[in-house]
Symmetry: C2
């Protein structure tokens, strides 16, 4: 049976997982709004970000309050500090959905995304969706081998980000400067989003092991030393 203090820690973890759900929904809606030039959907994403921010402040305040009250040590202290940090990264991921929604709003009723990069944006959105789902699951499970996979998972996002530039800079690009800027920024928002997901995964690893991922061996990250 868990004591009241550990129940409070569990409640914080549950709030982080709830944040990942809100962020996933925001990013999915922001992408659809961007591709379909759907203004109402974009406005909804901008508006709903308040909820993510409020949850972030709540997590932060509860964690600080718990620290002050309980004077935790070792893994409990690390858990609280990493909780604050993960919450900040999730909040920023929500901001990237808002940035996408603002591009949509700026260009409405035109779509900011020309046809030839549409499939790449769809693919980036699919990676974003897989990443945030997995972030929610490693926050809950604290599974180090799964958290260690994020660097590789995010490589696909970085590859797409580079390919996007190749399309923008190819002689076949007929859309001129404005759509190129929009696509550049949209691509960067997805890339940053992936980066924050990697940071959360690293924080889970640090939380569990007390070691930074770059100080662990491949075997430790894969959990093979625990067998």
């Amino acid at each position: 049976m868990r004591d009241a203090y550990h129940e409070e820690l569990d409640a914080l973890t549950a709030r982080l997982v709830e944040m990942t759900r809100l962020v996933r929904s925001a990013m999915a809606r922001a992408t659809t709004a961007l591709l379909d030039a759907d203004l109402a959907l974009a406005e909804g994403v901008i508006d709903a970000d308040k909820e993510i921010n409020a949850l972030h402040h709540e997590v932060e305040e509860n964690a600080l309050e718990l620290m002050a009250r309980q004077q935790p040590v070792a893994v409990d202290l690390r858990t609280l500090i990493m909780t604050i940090r993960m919450s900040a990264d999730l909040e920023r991921m929500g901001d990237h959905a808002v940035h996408l929604a603002k591009i949509t709003r700026l260009r409405h009723p035109t779509s900011a995304i020309p046809a030839e990069v549409r499939s790449m944006i769809v693919e980036m959105a699919q990676i974003a969706e897989r990443l945030i789902t997995k972030v929610g699951s490693v926050i809950a499970s604290r599974d180090v081998p799964t958290a260690a996979e994020f660097e590789t998972d995010d490589d696909a996002m970085d590859r797409l980000h580079r390919r996007l530039f190749e399309v923008l800079l190819s002689p076949n690009w007929k859309h001129g400067v404005e759509p190129a800027i929009d696509v550049t920024l949209a691509g960067r928002f997805f890339e940053r989003y992936g980066d924050h997901a990697v940071r959360v995964a690293r924080d889970v690893i640090f939380l569990v092991t007390g070691e930074r991922p770059d100080q662990l061996t491949e075997d430790q990250l894969a959990g093979r030393d625990q067998e």
Copy 2:
């Protein structure tokens, strides 16, 4: 006279101030490299970022270690948590200098910055320089009224960032897509840099007052309630 524990806290503050010096130098050199297409200078910025990252890890580890050992409460606990957070923001500011340096490297021997936006980039760099200098000084002084000025200071950066887009999207823009993308990203890196400076200033306010800046009145932020 200060005890050993508070001397360690002071040493952490001194390291944060040292980080602001390294970041200021990185950003100044990255801007010169960008404007002059100076590859060696750009490579130097990319290389020197290791030092900023190492200092960030050191600050973070020392702060965690102090927390575990000393079990601080109230303002001391807040100081350590805010120290970790400020260090992370400073580290990201250094990353933005690196991003600029990488644009320089990618376009070398051509300058990525066409003549008509040069003066705006110079102006953004000047604001960046003023912001980081002021960040160093509020970290050291913990002066709340000065920290409260950052939101206004950063407005000038945001205005320039918007003006930059106006130039890129005007019918007079003759440089096509590639320089437009470079300038878009460079502008965004300066804008993010300013944003991180504002976050550090907010953390100083929270450290001193225990309240988030948005929960304080204008009078409290200006220090008028302390008279």
